[in-house]
Structures are given as C-alpha cells and as structure tokens.
Amino acid sequence: MIDSPTMLKALISIIAAAGAIIIVVPTIRFLRDVVPFAYPTARVRARMGRLFTDRQLTEVMETENLREFKNYLRGFPDYAKYIDEYPIEKALESQLAEIYQLITEIAPKRIKKVFEAQFKKWDIKNIKSLLTAKDTGLSPEETTNLLIPFGELKDKLKKLTDLKTVQDIITALEDTEYGPILEAALSDYEKTRMLLPFEAALDKYYMETILEVLEELSIPKEDAEILRTYFGAQIDATNLKIILRAKADNLKYEDISPYIIPESYQLPEWKLEYLMEAEDIKGIINELEGTDYGPILAEALPEYEETGSLATFERALEKYINETARTFALKRPLGVGPIITFLSRKEAEIKNLKVIARTKREPSFPEPILKEMLI
C-alpha cells in the first residue's frame, strides 16, 4: 500500500503527463493530418461514384452518331448543362475544368496551393488556343469555341478573343504571370513561325510551378510522396514523349533540350540525354530498363512497329499514370489519395469521351480500333 501522499501526487502527475504526451499529442498530430480531408474526400468519392462505368462507356461507344452521343450525355446532369451550351469538345473540357475548380475550392488549406497551381492549366490551355487561333487567323467566334470559360483569365477571354495577332495577345498578357514567359519565347517564334516555343515554355512553367509548390508544402510524407509520384510521372511522361518524337524525327538532344523539364522523377536530365544517344526507338526502350517506363513501352512496341504511330506510346504512358493514380485512394484513403485518384480517373473519362466524340463524326468507325484508342 502506498502511504506517502507526496509519492502518490508524483505518481498521478507522471500518469497525467505520460498520458498527455504518449496518447494525446501523436493523436492530435494524426488527426490534424487526416480531419481536413474528411469533407473533400466525401465529396470527391461522391463524384467518383458518378464516373462512367465500363457498361456506360460501352453504351456511349455504341451510339450511332454525334447527335446520339450528345443525347446520351444529356442523361447525366454533370454533362447536360454544358452539352447544349457549347460545342462537344468545349463542353467536355468545361466539365473537367469545373471539377478542377471544385477541387481547388474544397482542398484542405495545407495542400490547396498544389491544386491552385494545377488549375493554371486552364489559363495555359486558353493561351495556347488563343495563340493558335491568332496564328491561323480564326474568327473571334471560332476562337471562342476553343476557349474554356474557367481559370484566372476567364474574365479577360472576351477581350483577348477580339485581338488580331499573336503579338497582340502577348502584349495583352504582359501584366500577367505568363507575360515574361511568352516574351522570352517570342524571338524563337519570330524565327521559326512555329507556336512550339510558346507551348513548350508554358508547359515547362506549369510543371515547374507545381514542383515549386510541392517543395514548399509542409504535409505528411505519405501525401507528399503521392503528389511527387503523380506529378513526377507526368513530367517523365512529357519528357519521354518529346524524346520519342525527337528520335522519330532524327533530331539531336540540343534541338529539344529547351523543351525538356529538368526536374523529373525517375528520369534525370542526364538519363534523357543518354536516351537520345540510342540508335532508334527500340534502343530508347532498352535503355529504360530498370524504370517503370521500360516494360510499359516495351509492351506497346509491337503495336508501334505495326502502325508507326507514336500515339501508341503516348497512350501507354497515360494508361500507366492513370493506373498508378488509381492505387492512391487505397494507399492513402484519409489523405490526398482519393482526390488524386478522382482527378486522374476524371481526366481519363474526358479523354475517352473526346476520342469517342471524334469517331462519331465519321460514319461507322470500327469499334475495335476505337476501343484501342481509349485509356
């Protein structure tokens, strides 16, 4: 029996302090990481339940023509509101942009900046469309049909549409964050009269902005790892697509190096340079052994050899990113996992619907070929 009151008081104090330190503090830290995701995760999972099932995708594929395709989509409130308002591609893209906007709004504060940076993709897409439209001399109405009414530049789009030349667009954007990037690429454009320097510079800026934000974030390492894997794979895929295309066109590394994003994930810049020294595309794939991309591209190689289309590799890489992202919701169900899984699946759904919509313009497009074109 303990008789000394001092000893007992000490015992109680120790129990209370140990309880607080061992139990409460780590739990609160854990909850601080998890609770902010409860609301967005539930909303995202509700949206995931509305993604097209395989059966629904088959039904869309079986529609006879574009009119039937649109009618089918009218049965889904998410798409219905855009179908009658815009041309089909713009309608689908607008639905996707709406999803990105929603994620930006509901994402937990600690991670919001990543999705805000990702939301810039709509500004970048619109700038590219504006530059293409002005370069090819499209009318304001035709230009409007290419623009997605989302992003920070949304309110300026009408004014930008009415401008006449590529130079006018760049001047009008000079007070935005894209101004200096476009200015820097202007001399290349003037030399080559190709839009590629603008497009590559904007893509590079987009990815580098995301990477910068990722560096600054103070989030649990599991969430950070998911984000690094997802965006890192996107950068690798972008770089690989450039390398494969450059090899197919017999270009040198110096020709494409301005378009390469150096901060990659599995493929550092020296490795990309090394890949370009391979004899041909088959050689590049052999050199990728030991990375995730080697087996994926090797599997797509026979189809490439048969068709000669680099789209085969591009699809294989997109499928890989999509399949990797699908696992995140299971790996980190109470963190950023479901959000990334949903965004990736939604991207794939929209890409597939765009491909199907395109084929519906051609009478009796063969279904087996269409199936192969889907992600």
């Binding site: 029996m1 609160i28 509700a46």
Partner: protein
C-alpha cells in the same frame, strides 16, 4: 463541506479522466465523421440520414466515460453523505477512470476514421452501407473492454467500500 481525503481526490481525478479522455476522443471522432457527412450531403442530399448514423456511432465512448465518471463520483463520497474514500479505493477509482478514458479515446479516434471512410464509400456506392457499419462497429470493442474493466474495478474496489 465534504472532507477531501487523498483517496477522494484521486477518485475525482479518475472521474475527470474518464469523461475527459473518452469525451475528447468522441468529439474529435464525431467532428471527423461530421465533416465527411457534410461533404457527402453536399453532393447527395439523400446521404443525410446515413451521415447522421455514422456520426452518432463514436458517441458511445463518451457515454461510457460519462457513466464511469458518475459511478466514481457517486461511490467515492465526493457528493458528500458517504464515507470518505481511502487511498487504495482512490487508486482503484483512478484506474477505472484511466481504463475507460484511454480505451475510449483510442476507440473513438479509430471509429471516427473508419466512419469517415465509410461515409465516403457509401456516398460513392450506397450498397456499402451495411459493410461500412460493420467495419465502423469493430473499434467499439476496445471501449467495451475498458468499460467492463472499469466497472469491475469499481465494483470490487470502490462500491465494496474501499
């Protein structure tokens, strides 16, 4: 005024721990599930009833803590009228409070996370409701263990006149 012996003081701390830890765990858990439920209802208003059910589940730990706290207070003489509790009885009352407090805290936090996950799963696929309830109920057992041990401690050590 009640004479506060060391035993009574420890019993008071035990009662406090019982409801404080269990209640804190329940509150955190319910906040977590409620946030998930609000998200679910924002997308699917028909999720309201199911959200309420999942949100209510982590309440039980607070109830267990509350009951043990009341039993400790009633039988330790804190309210007056009874014999002041001895030191041994006080230690037992404190242990009872710790048993349900800590077990309830852990159980509630775990249940809250499973329930929040289940809300998401049911929102995505309504057929997941029954399975979600089963998974959510599983972490309840630890709180029940804590509750039973606390009751046994009180019956043996405090209610018997320790």
């Amino acid at each position: 005024m009640v004479e506060i012996t060391l035993g009574t003081a420890m019993a008071a701390v035990g009662a406090g721990i019982a409801i404080a830890f269990a209640g804190f765990g329940s509150a955190m858990a319910q906040g977590n599930v409620a946030a998930a439920s609000v998200g679910a209802v924002a997308e699917k208003p028909e999720m309201f009833a199911r959200g309420i059910i999942f949100t209510a589940l982590p309440e039980t730990q607070a109830i267990y803590g509350f009951l043990i706290g009341i039993l400790v207070i009633v039988f330790s003489g804190i309210l007056g009228g009874g014999k002041a509790l001895g030191t041994t009885g006080g230690i037992i009352a404190l242990s009872a409070g710790l048993a349900i407090g800590v077990a309830g805290f852990g159980s509630a936090i775990a249940q809250g996370n499973v329930a929040a996950g289940s809300v998401g799963a049911v929102t995505e696929n309504p057929e997941m409701f029954a399975r979600g309830i089963i998974f959510t109920a599983l972490p309840e057992t630890q709180a029940i263990y804590g509750f039973l041990i606390a009751i046994l401690l009180l019956v043996g050590g405090v209610m018997g006149g320790g």
